[in-house]
């Protein structure tokens, strides 16, 4: 069995978890095993039904009042209990903020090694082989985990999402075991940056600005451009962040976030090696820069040598016509 942890926020299922579930289904078919999905928290019935449409053999709702607020300790303990019972060969998470926080806690609890931020999963001789970028994408490491269960976090936006069908598998409620004394830390408040804004790691399109944006107020141009593109986000290079033009949550690159959107548009970004490391796995790259020698053009599928202050409004007008 491959067990997939499904993350919810405000009762809604997060798309990267469904990508992980889709990948689990594909690999389980190769291995000749089944897939179970697990959600943890309270009031998960609607989310459980939604997950069921993505085809797991069963959906388990792990419930306990102690799981109402996220706590790596409590969630780790609850999942370890379920794993002891189900004995899955593998456990997948999405490499979201929560997945990156929880999966290592669980792995340590079970005494197993962990495959983090994986971008490819293959079946080799009935075992899984993982590929993950290291040095922020400057090299690719292929490896196997020597311990069972094989726990992995899968990078968002990399694994394709299978379409939902009719809800098929059973949805089972289970009381999770959480020892109150063990919970020494938990989330007490969630502060959303801006309602409806999506993170660069989850965006399908990123419009990103660098030093060539010249001033913080010019990032408004990118926000306006992003506003016409569905599932898009504004990114930035390190120099734009260090100049204080936009918050560090938007930083793409080796000391920021590593992203792989369908489309990455770089405006006024020269393309330093640290920036390329964070975005070169994007499916399509567009570069707009007034310097024809900028290294970013060496990795761009489409380049425009020109003034971004003219190109961005023109692009926005063209996109408005079709989107």
């Amino acid at each position: 069995m491959i067990l997939v942890y499904i993350e919810t926020r405000d009762g809604k299922v997060k798309r990267p978890s469904l990508e992980a579930l889709s990948e689990a289904k594909r690999r389980a078919a190769e291995l000749g095993t089944d897939v179970a999905a697990v959600l943890a928290g309270t009031g998960l019935e609607t989310a459980g039904q939604e997950v069921s449409a993505y085809g797991p053999a069963k959906v388990i709702l792990l419930q306990n009042p102690q799981l109402q607020a996220y706590s790596a300790q409590a969630y780790g303990q609850a999942l370890a209990g379920l794993i002891a019972e189900l004995k899955p060969e593998s456990v997948f998470f999405s490499a979201t903020a929560l997945g990156k926080d929880l999966a290592p806690r669980l792995a340590a609890r079970l005494g197993v090694s962990l495959a983090s931020d994986v971008t490819r999963v293959a079946v080799k001789g009935k075992k899984l082989e993982f590929v993950r970028p290291i040095f922020a994408g400057k090299a690719l490491l292929s490896f196997r985990l020597m311990t069972v269960p094989q726990i992995a976090t899968l990078r968002p936006n990399v694994f394709s999402l299978e379409p939902a069908g009719a809800a098929s598998g059973e949805v089972i409620k289970k009381e999770a075991v959480v020892t109150e004394a063990e919970v020494k830390g938990k989330v007490v408040e969630v502060l959303a940056e801006k309602a409806g804004e999506i993170d660069v790691t989850e965006a399908e399109v990123i419009v990103s600005g660098g030093r060539g944006m010249k001033a913080p107020e010019n990032f408004a141009l990118l926000k306006e451009l992003s506003a016409v593109i569905p599932r898009s986000a504004v990114g930035a290079s390190r120099s734009a962040i260090d100049s204080g033009w936009i918050g560090h949550a938007h930083q793409v690159g080796q000391t920021g976030k590593t992203v792989s959107p369908n489309l990455y548009m770089a405006f006024g970004i020269s393309g330093a090696i640290q920036h390329l490391a964070g975005m070169s796995s994007s499916k399509v790259i567009v570069a707009v820069n007034k310097d024809p020698e900028a290294p970013i053009f060496k990795v761009a599928d489409y380049g425009i040598v020109g003034d971004l202050f003219e190109v961005i409004p023109a692009l926005k007008d063209e996109l408005k016509k079709i989107l």
Partner: protein, 260 residues
């Protein structure tokens, strides 16, 4: 307040990586090694907490003798003590092995602390596993990817970065906290600090002294291949006025690349 900070020696971010295909390792020769960029925020936070609340900052690194260089940098920044946990294994990419060694060293030799600070991840293995694993192995609460930290004598709160916002965590001490960019602005070493750091004795803890079993020291990860990603090819340049170029680009993105 007794604060421990854990740092790693990593290649600087400008490094171009060379691969030894036979050994499936990254060639160390020619790389410039530095204190991990996120570890710098952790050290700085430790120093600020000590300055605000009194106490002591001890910096630990797990690695080869060469890691003494970054420990001395931390001392020069203002850390009180430094400890090298000597490990000749090289990069194993196995966070659990690292976490087990750190947990064993703390349990057996350095059991008294209020706070364990880490960078949110190394630069290289990029695993972001060790802080959570150490927290679990020691039964401590964790706050990862932290951009703001506030501590009382026996508890604390932290803001941690999540998709599209932040979450506020409350926890008891001792706790594990990993630092994200934005937490603070790390200071430079002072000349006086550099001189004092040179003379400071740095104790060395050996792996043999920690009582770990051979299987606990073995890597749980079997590397099967290490390669460079396929190089991207430069595509086409779109000429014309901004309006014409924008029109053609949108047409190509829709009809050729099919991404919008």
């Amino acid at each position: 307040m007794n604060i421990f900070v854990f740092v790693k020696r990593v290649p600087d971010t400008e490094s171009r990586i060379k691969i030894n295909h036979e050994k499936k390792t990254v060639e160390e020769q020619g790389l410039n090694f530095v204190l991990g960029p996120y570890d710098e925020y952790a050290v700085e936070e430790g120093l600020r907490l000590r300055e605000a609340k009194t106490g002591k900052v001890t910096v630990f690194s797990l690695g080869p003798d060469e890691a003494l260089v970054i420990l001395r940098k931390c001392l020069a920044m203002g850390a009180d003590e430094a400890v090298l946990i000597k490990d000749a294994a090289g990069e194993t990419y196995d966070g659990l092995r690292t976490a087990r060694i750190i947990a064993a060293a703390l349990k057996s030799k350095y059991p008294a602390f209020d706070l364990l600070l880490f960078g949110k991840q190394s630069i290289g293995a990029d695993n972001a596993q060790v802080p959570s694993m150490v927290a679990e192995l020691l039964g401590l609460p964790q706050a990862n990817v932290v951009t703001k930290l506030e501590l009382d004598p026996d508890k604390g709160t932290a803001l941690r970065e999540i998709e599209g916002g932040e979450e506020k965590l409350a926890f008891s001490l001792p706790a594990v906290v990993s630092a994200q960019k934005g937490l603070n602005e790390p200071r430079y070493e002072t000349l006086k600090g550099i001189m004092a750091a040179k003379k400071k004795e740095i104790p060395v803890v050996t792996l043999e002294s920690l009582g770990l079993k051979p299987e606990e020291l073995a890597s749980g990860i079997e590397v099967t291949n290490l390669e460079m990603p396929e190089a991207r090819k430069a595509g086409r340049t779109i000429a014309g006025s901004p309006a014409d170029a924008a029109r053609e680009l949108v047409s190509l993105l829709r009809n050729e690349a099919k991404v919008i």
